[in-house]
Amino acid sequence: MSDHAATDIDRHVRVYLIVFASLLVLTVVTVGVYELHLTPAAAVTVALLIATIKGSLVACYFMHLVSEKKLIFLVLALTVVFFFTLLFLPFVTSIKDHIGI
């Protein structure tokens, strides 16, 4: 392996350790917020926001999405569309039931 590649990996490792520390801090924050006993709406918003930030850190850096090829993003974009359709489709049908169409 060339010196350039070795330096590149050293840089990656530094990023991994920073992400690790961030994930630990965010996990503590998640539990800290839970102890505050916020209103249900605020608790759900904050908990999901922190989980999304943590999940993005794992996907972007540990799973190397920051430097991934276009095709992977296309696959993931399609997955995101289907995932949210799956999540919200039941609500759409229940709204239709309420308004009687």
Partner: protein, 202 residues
């Protein structure tokens, strides 16, 4: 017969086939867990008293938050050791790779042992999946996640043991396999990052 594009990138996709394969598999996994997350939301929104199902008669949470917090730290740590195992191979350090991947498998074991104690305590108190909707979705989601942890550990143990022979024949191919196994392991960690707050804290 030699399998094409295990190491070299395909000219049309710019990726080796293993990388495409694992990401397509992970996309299907997102939909599998997505179906359960959607079911969780529907069951929770439709429940008459969700709060009562998650508490004991004394008003305490039936799930053990400190144990789940510990497991979150364990799984995050195992993701770091997994990615460090891959980085060690990129630096041609097979010894360090073994150390980091061994730590990843051990941390996976640690997660399952903690989960075993959690499940045992629930069973001991008669908190079985059939008791209420919350416990049914809790055992389904954490049980499926636990099976994924076992699957990831089997793949990693293979790469640590007999699978590592490939390193001496084709180091680049072996490094790609470790990266792909790592992608699955990080996905398992990612699912837990969402399971922890929605089941234990909300």
């Amino acid at each position: 017969m030699e399998i094409p594009y295990t190491v070299a990138a395909r000219p049309d996709t710019g990726l080796n086939n293993g990388k495409i394969g694992i990401w397509l598999f992970l996309a299907s996994e997102v939909m599998l867990f997505g179906a359960l997350f959607a079911s969780y939301i529907m069951l929770r929104v439709g429940a008459t008293d969700w709060h009562a199902m998650t508490r004991t008669e004394h008003g305490e949470m039936i799930l053990n938050v400190p144990l789940a917090f510990t497991n979150t730290i364990v799984l995050i740590s195992s993701s770091v050791t997994m990615v460090m195992a891959w980085a060690s191979l990129m630096r041609n350090q097979l010894g360090r790779f073994r150390m980091y991947l061994g730590a990843t498998v051990l941390l996976g074991c640690c997660f399952l042992v903690i989960k075993y104690f959690e499940y045992s305590a629930k069973f001991h108190h008669g908190l079985l999946p059939g008791k209420n909707t919350f416990l049914a979705i809790y055992f389904t989601m954490t049980g499926l996640h636990g099976l994924h942890v076992i699957g990831g550990m089997v793949a990693n143990a293979y790469l640590l043991g007999p699978g590592s022979k490939l390193w001496h024949e084709n180091p680049r191919w072996f490094t790609n396999r470790v990266e792909n196994s790592g992608l699955f392991w990080h996905f398992v960690d990612l699912v837990w990052i969402f399971l922890f707050p929605i089941l234990y804290l909300l």
